[in-house]
């Protein structure tokens, strides 16, 4: 039994993967807090419908070994975007504001915790429904 067959669990694990990747991006920003000409990155906001559309895109089928596979790259991660208008830029061109990044990290952690709690609740309900009659 794969929990991902059910819509709500797929949604929740997708969201958790998004938070996971966002944490990576934010830590990369923080570790580059003093790199010249570095602009902070952030993930595009999580949108389930957009996510579905991304995964529903089909690759080109090839009949022979030598056929080209088309130009659509199959992406595994979520979309990563550079900050368009950063809050402030240092003279060296670095645009990372540590306070801002820390706020984002905190928000990310909080939302992740919310999703894990909801996940636990849903799994608990499934288990309740599966208990044999006493």
């Amino acid at each position: 039994m794969d929990l991902k067959d059910s819509g709500i669990f797929r949604l929740m694990s997708d969201k958790m993967a998004w938070h996971n990747q966002r944490q990576e991006v934010l830590s990369k920003n923080i570790s580059n807090a003093d790199t010249p000409e570095f602009r902070p990155h952030d993930l595009v906001k999580f949108d389930f419908k957009k996510q579905l559309r991304e995964t529903a895109r089909m690759p080109l089928a090839g009949g022979e070994n030598g056929h080209l596979s088309g130009t659509i790259v199959s992406k595994t991660g979520f979309k990563d975007g550079q900050e368009r208008n950063p809050y402030e830029t240092a003279p060296a061109g670095n645009a990372v504001v540590l306070e801002e990044q820390m706020m984002k990290v905190g928000q990310n952690a909080m939302e992740y915790q919310t999703v894990t709690n909801l996940y636990r609740k849903q799994v608990g309900m499934l288990k309740t429904a599966m208990t044999p009659p006493r």
């Binding site: 819509g7 919310t114 909801l118 608990g124 309740t128 429904a129 009659p133």
Partner: protein, 102 residues
């Protein structure tokens, strides 16, 4: 998720009409029968579960107030536990009847 639940509801409904409404028709009371009561309770429980799932999805997407999400999920959990407990009671009562000496 939704398909087995509605299937169970249909099974409950058919059981209620087949097994329980027949004796109530012959009885002198005119109020809603035990079967009707059970059916409406089960229907309400299913609605609560659906609401819990919907609010979970909204909460994950950040489209709902967190307090509402917690409320709905807790409601769903408690309702499910109540339903499971009632089911256990019914089954144990049935087994008790089966064990009765003829």
């Amino acid at each position: 998720m939704a398909i087995p639940i509605s299937g169970a509801a249909a099974a409950y409904a058919s059981a209620a009409t087949r097994g329980l409404s027949a004796p109530s028709r012959s009885g002198p009371t005119e109020g809603p029968s035990f079967g009707d009561m059970l059916e409406s309770a089960v229907g309400q429980s299913i609605q609560t579960m659906h609401k819990g799932e919907e609010m979970t999805a909204k909460g994950v997407l950040g489209k709902a107030d967190l307090a509402d999400v917690v409320n709905a999920v807790t409601n769903a959990e408690v309702t499910l536990q109540a339903v499971v407990n009632v089911r256990d009671k019914v089954i144990s009562a049935y087994q008790e009847i089966l064990r009765m000496p003829m």
